[in-house]
């Protein structure tokens, strides 16, 4: 049976104004099974966000291909829902307007769309804020709206690009827990990009570690921690700590520095 997401020999290069062609991703091959929550970690600039954008169909691969449930990716679509670090909410729409956007665009009747939107707004604990504009919300609230907006059109896959990176530590942990709660409900396939190793280990089933630019997959680590996961329990769990330490060690490999920058 085909995996949910299959990436074959993916490379992506960019033409920059001054420094010629820059290779962001180099021959990435990986597969994600249906219902898995995978995390992608790596140092800044390694191309992990680019990888996500290629899967989402927002950026074209230079070579290689991406298949979702057997079909080659040819552009964005409602089967792959993004959640961005900058929230990317429509500032001219209220919370309700943002969340119901996808539904209304797809032709769902207005009353039905609004009802479904309200249910989602309640799911992300924002009931009462339906008529607020994004600029009146805090960062954490905005991200909740963004998540609700993406969930509204029922994507099979969630592509999350450092979604909690712009939030303070307290809000971040709260939203991590909420995300897992929501995920437990229907177990979508999730690709979660982050540079925080403990966030990756806490949330995911597998962690892909990327190398420095040009990005390639260095290693994959299976996270065999039971679900549902409680942050307070895990923080003192020995295996959790081992995972975090070993991944950080992978990321911080001095030998690699020499390899990329020349001895």
């Amino acid at each position: 049976m085909a995996a949910c997401i299959e990436i074959e020999q993916l490379s992506r290069s960019f033409d920059t104004a001054k420094r010629g062609t820059h290779l962001a991703l180099s021959e990435i091959s990986m597969a994600v099974e249906e219902g898995q929550f995978v995390a992608i970690v790596g140092p800044s600039g390694c191309g992990k966000s680019t990888l996500l954008y290629v899967v989402g169909g927002f950026v074209a691969p230079t070579t290689g291909r991406v298949r979702v449930v057997g079909k080659e990716v040819d552009g964005p679509g409602p089967d792959r829902g993004p959640v961005f670090q900058e929230f990317a909410l429509f500032p001219w729409k209220t919370v309700l307007g943002n969340v119901s956007y996808g539904l209304i665009q797809r032709g769902v009747a207005r009353r039905e769309a609004l009802a479904r939107a309200r249910a989602l707004i309640e799911l992300v604990h924002l009931d009462g804020y339906e008529n607020f504009y994004p600029k009146e919300l805090s960062g954490g609230m905005k991200q909740r709206v963004a998540i609700a907006r993406t969930l509204a059109y029922g994507p099979r896959i969630l592509l999350m690009d450092e979604p909690f990176g712009a939030l303070d530590a307290l809000t971040r942990t709260r939203l991590q827990n909420e995300l897992l709660e929501i995920w437990e409900r229907d177990r979508k396939t999730v690709m979660f990009v982050t540079h925080s190793v403990d966030e990756a280990v806490f949330l995911s089933d597998r962690v892909f570690v990327m190398s420095r630019s040009p990005g390639r997959i260095k290693c994959v680590i299976e996270i065999a921690l039971p679900r549902p996961r409680r942050r307070t329990e895990l923080l003192v769990n020995r295996r959790y700590q081992d995972y975090v330490v070993s991944i950080e060690r992978e990321m911080d490999d001095p030998a690699e520095d020499i390899a990329t920058h020349g001895g």
Partner: protein, 257 residues
């Protein structure tokens, strides 16, 4: 210094030069330092202004000017916004249009006016055509620049929700670029004001510009001041009205610096 006091000083400082000029004008006229034929007294001008604003014929001339102004502006807005969005949304269109705009923008479009008169006649069409030519560029440029500056992730979010590329251009890109587009519109509105008045002065058949030229030909100095004051007031009114409209349209958008 408290905020209230500072504002008071601002208002005082703002009205002072205007008050000074009016006073000077009054003094020059009253003390006969300038002949009435060259510089009528401010009260005479004011009275004449009020009289004309109640005169049906004068108002019909104003209406003619306003009609051309708004018709030209509306056309320019539709053209400018459509072309600007198309150029931003399609690389081919953008590349093809950029050199055209670069060549056309610095040309004084008023020079084309005689050609319009020759081909379109002396009535509304030639003046509206001129207004469109002059007013389209600020809107086009503002729309293009605004659209190119839109955060791509907004578009990506909409596309992922299943919205087609073409629909995105108008429901997301145009909406997101609206503040910039409206700024371009405001500039265009003022330009339209100026251009229609000038066109009416150059080939004089009707409209406010014609009123001015006719008064000049008949040496009616007072009547020469009135159209100028009216066009200035019109510009201020349009500016204020536009700002109000802008406030309503941009609810929810983050404030600009």
């Amino acid at each position: 210094m408290t905020a209230a006091r500072a504002r008071l000083i601002d208002v005082a400082a703002g009205t002072a030069p205007l008050a000074l000029i009016v006073t000077l004008w009054f003094a020059l006229a009253t003390f006969g330092l300038a002949p009435a034929a060259l510089l009528p007294a401010p009260q005479t001008v004011l009275l004449r202004l009020c009289a004309l604003l109640a005169d049906a014929q004068f108002l019909s001339q104003c209406a003619v000017t306003l009609f051309r102004l708004f018709a030209g502006f509306a056309l320019a807005a539709v053209l400018g916004i459509t072309i600007g969005i198309a150029a931003a949304g399609s690389r081919a269109v953008g590349t093809a249009l950029t050199p055209l705009v670069r060549v056309l923008a610095p040309l004084p479009k008023i020079a084309l006016y005689p050609a319009f008169v020759l081909t379109l006649g002396f009535e509304h069409a030639s003046k509206i055509a001129l207004v469109v030519c002059d007013a389209v560029f600020p809107i086009l440029l503002a729309t293009y620049q605004g659209a190119m500056a839109v955060e791509p992730k907004l578009v990506w979010s909409a596309r992922a929700a299943g919205v087609s590329h073409a629909r995105c251009l108008f429901s997301v890109v145009l909406r997101a670029a609206l503040p910039t587009v409206l700024t371009g519109c405001r500039i265009s509105l003022i330009i339209a004001c100026i251009v229609v008045f000038l066109a009416e002065m150059i080939t004089s058949t009707d409209g406010l510009g014609h009123v001015l030229v006719r008064a000049a030909r008949n040496f009616q100095t007072v009547d020469m001041f009135v159209p100028i004051i009216v066009i200035s007031l019109l510009g201020l009114l349009l500016n204020a009205g536009f700002n109000m409209l802008r406030g309503r349209l941009l609810i929810g958008y983050p404030e600009e610096s």
